[in-house]
């Protein structure tokens, strides 16, 4: 293990960390899938409530997405505005 400076190692592991941070998107995908599935179910049961359901679904999707967006912001921070370097 010679030939690596500290900064290079930090850059390498930051890139790995950015990739790992995006694993959070898996959970977000599951959450949004549940959300959309339930909305389809409810719309099939009660088609006249479609407008309200769509609105509620969009809010739910936005709230679910927040966790993933935090992961994205952290990944972007690690790649472009790394506080450790």
């Amino acid at each position: 293990m010679t030939g690596f400076t500290g900064a290079e190692l930090i850059a390498a592991f930051s890139s790995l960390g950015a990739g790992m941070a995006m694993i959070a998107m898996a959970g977000v995908g599951i959450g949004i899938g549940f959300n959309a599935g339930k909305t389809v179910e409810s719309t099939a049961r009660q088609p006249e409530a479609q407008g309200t359901l769509l609105k509620l679904m969009l809010i739910g999707v936005a709230l679910t997405e927040t966790a993933g967006i935090f992961a994205l912001v952290i990944a972007i921070m690690l790649l472009f505005a790394n506080p450790l370097l």
Partner: protein, 244 residues
């Protein structure tokens, strides 16, 4: 690779970036539209006045559906947010940097919303009721409620910022990849190789419009709508405590 917005000029030591310039231009454009549309008002509207009236009517109806009786007080703020955030995020269509891909644009707006929520909550419930609501269901939940309440502007700002910035990064990657692909195709047949810069990126013609439509039109409208919707819902929730 540099990701932040370019600095256009400085006033003293304060850097003025391109997103700040663009938000001023977008605001002026909205102002100009509003001025021109209402200059010669007609009973039967057409043209700019019709567009303006449709927009205002849509916003007032949307706010009324969520907030009920006090909607008229908040509709102007919500409409301004909707138009400004929507147009500001759609600048990517013209190959400029969207104003909302800068945390300095979204965070102040989220703070305004935060102040509005808590100001109206105190006004509607009085200070005592506000603290009681904050320490519900049990008094030891007070710190947790404060933390969760103060995270609201952060999530609101980061959601808009992250979504639009992800679109900007992705569109940049797609366009630069298509440029490289066109250069590679030309250099397959050209004997002295062309440089990447001297090649017309013909692969960029046409089909990236689909991606543009998603990231620069649908996503901004959706995110602006969600921003406004959360603003309305939380202001309304603050005014009416859930327990009652």
């Amino acid at each position: 690779m540099e990701l932040g917005p370019r600095i256009i000029f400085r006033i003293g030591s304060v850097p003025i970036s391109e997103t700040v310039c663009w938000s001023i231009i977008v605001s002026l454009a909205i102002l100009l539209f509003a001025f021109l549309a209402t200059r010669k008002m007609q009973t039967v509207p057409h043209g700019a006045q019709l567009l303006g009236e449709m927009l205002v009517g849509f916003v007032y109806k949307m706010v009324k559906d969520v907030m009920g009786d006090i909607s008229d007080k908040f509709a102007p703020y919500c409409g301004t947010l909707l138009v400004f955030l929507g147009l500001g995020s759609m600048l990517g269509l013209l190959d400029f940097r969207p104003t909302t891909s800068d945390l300095n644009c979204t965070f102040p707006l989220a703070l305004v919303t935060f102040v509005l929520i808590h100001y109206n909550a105190v006004k509607a419930q009085t200070a005592k009721g506000y603290i009681k609501e904050l320490s519900s269901p049990y008094p030891f939940m007070l710190p947790l409620n404060i933390i969760s309440d103060s995270m609201f502007p952060v999530t609101l700002a980061c959601r808009l910022f992250g979504n639009i910035l992800a679109g900007v990064i992705l569109m940049g990657l797609v366009y630069s990849g298509l440029h490289t692909a066109s250069a590679a195709l030309v250099n397959l047949f050209a004997d002295p190789d062309f440089t990447r810069e001297s090649i017309v990126p013909f692969f960029q013609i046409g089909w990236p419009l689909i991606l543009n439509f998603w990231f620069d039109m649908f996503e901004p409208i959706l995110q602006a709508y969600i921003f406004v919707m959360l603003t309305m819902v939380f202001i309304d929730n603050g005014r009416h405590p859930v327990e009652s």
